[in-house]
């Protein structure tokens, strides 16, 4: 069955450093992959989408890569700030279904 894996352990980094979060998938060939941010007590909020024919996508301090050979997406936040502290979810999707499969998320904590 399809499986999406994200680091279950929290990632703690110092302000100003680059945070890198990993999303691995198995038994799946997604056409695109989305990343969402979730704050406590809130629903997830869409951040970025990357398609299978794109190696990299950037938005302000965010960068996402998509390696279909490794079956992996990396999510980078450069010059991280305490306000970036949240849980980040990846969600691969394909064009044959309108459903997304969400990973369990990785909690990022940026400390001053």
């Amino acid at each position: 069955s399809q499986k999406i894996e994200q680091n279950s352990e929290a990632l703690n980094i110092q302000e100003g450093k680059t945070a890198t979060l990993t999303c691995n998938y198995t038994n799946y060939s997604p056409a695109y992959l989305q990343w969402y941010r979730q704050d406590p007590g809130r629903g997830p909020v869409f951040l970025l989408l990357i398609r299978e024919n794109e190696k990299e996508k950037r938005k302000e301090r965010l960068k996402v890569t998509f390696d279909t050979t490794l079956k992996q997406s990396l999510f980078h936040i450069t010059a991280s700030q305490p306000a970036d502290s949240a849980t980040y979810l990846c969600a691969p999707g394909d064009l044959n279904t309108d459903k997304l499969i969400f990973g369990t998320g990785t909690r990022l904590q940026v400390f001053p």
Partner: protein, 115 residues
């Protein structure tokens, strides 16, 4: 409204009671999803509505769970004879299925506590 609205935001009920959770999607969005998120866990897909098509109920955990979407807009998730393991946050999302990708917009969720 501008976003997805869910009500109530919190619901405390006794084991064995029925509960109804409501979702108002973004106007014009054709697809509506219900998810369940237990403490510290990811999103568990429950059910999906798209236009006038039959809903995809493949994620409903038992026949105590049901959902309907009236007039292609508001949706209600009903849990009958609630159990303690039903305690979780129930999230609703809507999207516009008109492009090849499916960006979902979430409500803040309903936190259900079954005592």
């Amino acid at each position: 409204g501008a976003g997805v609205s869910q009500s109530p935001s919190n619901k405390v009920t006794e084991k064995g009671k029925d509960v109804e959770l409501r979702c108002d999607p973004i106007s014009g969005h054709t697809a509506l999803y219900w998810y369940r998120q237990s403490l510290g866990q990811g999103l568990e897909f429950l059910i999906y509505f798209q236009g006038n098509s039959a809903p995809d109920k493949s994620g409903l955990p038992s026949d105590r769970f049901s959902a309907e979407r009236t007039g292609g807009s508001v949706s209600t998730l009903t849990i009958q004879r609630t159990q303690q393991e039903d305690s979780a946050v129930y999230l609703c999302a809507s999207s516009f299925i008109g492009t090849s990708e499916n960006i979902q917009y979430f409500g803040a969720g309903t936190r259900l506590s079954v005592l």
